[in-house]
Symmetry: C2
Subunit: 490 residues, 2 copies
């Protein structure tokens, strides 16, 4: 008989840059987000889950003047030819939601949002095109009390999810202070200001000396490439460096340093005064510099935000891929941005907020041993006699009623070895066995798989004999014995 | 000065058919799904969160042979011209995931998944293009023990989320029994079989007499339209009607009726025997016909599934939009489907599973008063003196440390009336007031807003005087007094 021609089979793959999450990857994230939501709720923030799909018009990311837009978002046309796109963050949707529902929402409006966002970017190692964001923002509050509140809430959140006090630091800066510094330097030229801003952004990497070089004539890169400088004189560059290095443990000293760096700039004084208020408000609530600190060396986001800027860093050390010690680093950042909804309504509405790096924070909790310790595999009830499936299902029902995680083996029961291999794959702590003989005698066999694995690994024959990892108990003591073994391994 | 021409403002709107969810809508759903996940976990099911975006090839929903595909899914082209689409359910991704990761997954593989899916369909009232699904499936288990387990788990789930025993019924049918009935009727003609299947699908609506008419000559619709019948004689139609109406409270009686309806059909006998096993397995675990019942009148999904079919119905009565009593109806359904991954791998892998209608079940819980009772609004600390924001933030910090939900008013504090209006919009139970006078005397004013609202609604002047809704207490008794008022209203 001639072989039939078959249609080619589809590939079983996610699209490039997408991935799936299994078991604990899903539940650990869900638990962490649930804990965070609890803190946000206590602070009076309300949950918001906006649509995953927005009109391109509302996102404002690009104009649909090309056939297939691909500027950072995934977009397509609806039946009526209007363009829709997947949200690329949670802030743009907040702006749209607030503009759309502002008459029904309280003012100020505190909201938190958690969920996937999508980016049409080139995927790379550890860089996915779908990932979680977790944001909290206060819309419509111009006072820096709102910024201080966000910082306090961030500190509480980190501790609640399992980062101990002392292992994190929230650093606060202010864009207005930098504006004051630039003003006092007399940099009228916008392109020169932008060049200084871009240079400041490299402070984390190149340090004080590097920034001096980059503000001046230029700098020889680690790779050997020469980076052109902004072209300022050493004297001109000084206020920027003074600003970046003005941080001290005592807020009062930091603020005095900043006041010196901004000269007579009005916006600069406004910025310093805002930082002063934030420090005062936080001190009044008991958040000292061991948790939240005024630190002008925070440069991330300084180009985007318009007032206070904050960043949460984890200060404990980890080993990097080359085995060198380094600080864990940033897990959250945020700040104040004006005119959240002006695009929609014409009215300026200030907002301030924070975004937690969900994957970074999960990695940190794993690093601290807070999650990912042990997988809670189910108790597996094996099937010795396929006609007595009812008996086995009754056993798992009993185990579950006692609050235990339990399942019956549902594959082909013919090969008992396969059942134990299955239990192994499931990371089961205990297997239950009841053959015809056991049934007749009213007993069950209970195998301690954790102890069994340990013995198999490193026990001598004597130890093996002395530590049986399998027990025979009367059928009505099934639950008690399983519970006893599980308690032993806790 | 001439008015400047402005660019048109974008519309602040979700795309058609999409919506946002606020506050309790988000948290109530999250809590319900969390409870469900807990039950699934106990049954040994593992979480899976697959990518929201799939290749069109993997979804198999349409061929990308048109410029803008719109057959039910939202799709677009990637940079390399390959087509991607948003998932339209959680079963197609399960097939792809299982085919992709089958070497790493246990066999059988029990998994649950919860999340949004997207449908490119015409939106209508209550019909959205993004909505939640919540599925549990067992892949690779051919035994009906897997089906019985799903039914038991569904019963446990409904009770755990708050549907009391007696208010739901899980009904089980089997497609193979129907196949046996059709076989025994001697319907060889495929189109006639399909016509009978379509007719059966209307049993819920038209009842026994209606099905008889539709299987025969035809039927005058309620709207006056005449619907052509399948054209069977009364005698020929009899086995179908016998099948649909064979359900009795006692499984044994139902099974005997079914055996009579299938005659000598082998596949029919297989189906009846499967139902018999399911009933036996469930009885062994204590799930009687008060919770799960063999019921051949379940017709939904009978065209799609290949073996056992199940449906969970809520049996309590609600009033429909016209004020008539009716049963709440279906909240979950599922069944067995063969060849889950055959498209990808060429190997047949059986699967069985259930999908809970997330929005329907939430509506049912609201109906039963299990959720949506009272919104937990925050205690609002008002701002009487904007220079003392630190004092007010210290108050909310204290209240939060006591486990209460509390926030300080962050809007413009000039108009005190606005602050109380804000508290009202936030559904706050309590407002705290500390002006300069109170500060000097070391006291705070605490307003019971719930009692205040009640009095404002229906109290006489005397009652008003007798029941003050505002209390003055020493500052250090703030938390205790607020707690006392909240306890009173519980």
């Amino acid at each position: 008989m001639a072989k039939q021609k078959k249609a080619p089979r589809p590939k079983a793959q996610t699209p490039k840059g997408f991935r799936d999450y299994f078991g604990p990857e899903v539940t650990e994230r869900a638990e962490m987000l649930n804990t965070i939501a609890g803190v946000y709720h206590q602070y009076g923030f309300d949950a918001l889950e906006s649509s995953g799909v927005e009109t391109v018009e509302a996102l404002g990311k690009f104009l649909p003047d090309v056939d297939r837009p691909n500027e950072g978002v995934f977009a397509w046309q609806d039946e009526d030819d209007s363009w829709m796109a997947l949200r690329y963050d949670l802030t743009a949707p907040l702006a749209r939601v607030y503009a759309q529902h502002r008459n029904d929402l309280p003012l100020p409006y505190r909201r938190y949002a958690m969920g996937p966002v999508w980016r049409n970017e080139k995927p790379g190692p550890g860089r996915y095109r779908q990932f979680y964001q977790c944001d909290a923002d206060t819309v419509g509050a111009g006072s820096v009390a709102a910024d201080a509140e966000i910082c306090a809430m961030l500190a509480d959140t980190l501790e609640k999810v399992g980062i101990p006090r002392g292992d994190y630091l929230i650093r606060v800066n202010n864009r207005k202070v930098l504006n004051g510094v630039l003003e006092c330097m007399g940099l009228d030229d916008d392109s020169q200001r932008d060049a200084v801003l871009r240079t400041i952004d490299k402070f984390d990497k190149v340090g004080e000396a590097g920034v001096r070089e980059l503000l001046g004539k230029g700098r020889l890169d680690a790779s050997g490439a020469y980076i052109d400088g902004v072209g300022l004189s050493d004297e001109q560059a000084e206020p920027v460096v003074a600003f970046l290095t003005s941080g001290r443990l005592e807020a009062a000293e930091t603020l005095a340093n900043l006041r010196a760096a901004i000269g007579a700039s009005k916006v600069g004084e406004e910025g310093v005064s805002e930082l002063e208020q934030i420090a005062k408000l936080l001190a009044a609530q008991g958040y000292g510099p061991d948790r939240i600190i005024i630190d002008p060396s925070v440069v991330r986001g300084l180009g985007y935000y318009t007032g206070p800027v904050f960043e949460a860093e984890l200060t404990f050390e980890i080993l990097d891929e080359k085995g060198r010690k380094r600080q864990f680093g940033s897990v959250a950042g945020g700040g104040r941005y004006d005119d959240l909804v002006k695009r929609f309504t014409g009215q300026a509405v200030p907002a301030t907020g924070v975004s937690i790096g969900v994957d970074r924070l999960l990695a940190a909790l794993r690093e601290k041993g807070r999650i990912g310790g042990s997988v809670e595999g189910p108790v597996v009830v094996t099937v010795m006699d396929r006609d007595r499936m009812g008996d086995y299902q009754a056993m798992v029902a009993e185990l579950r009623q006692a609050g235990l995680r339990a399942e019956v083996y549902l594959g082909n029961p013919k090969n008992f070895g396969n059942q134990l291999k299955y239990a192994d794959k499931r990371q089961s702590p205990v297997a239950v066995i009841e053959g015809g003989d056991e049934k007749d005698r009213g007993v069950v066999q209970i195998k301690d798989l954790i102890l069994g694995a340990k013995l198999a690994e490193d026990a001598s024959l004597e130890e093996w004999k002395d530590h049986p990892s399998q027990y025979e108990v009367p059928r009505d003591q099934l639950v008690a014995k399983v519970q006893e073994i599980l308690d032993l391994h806790k």
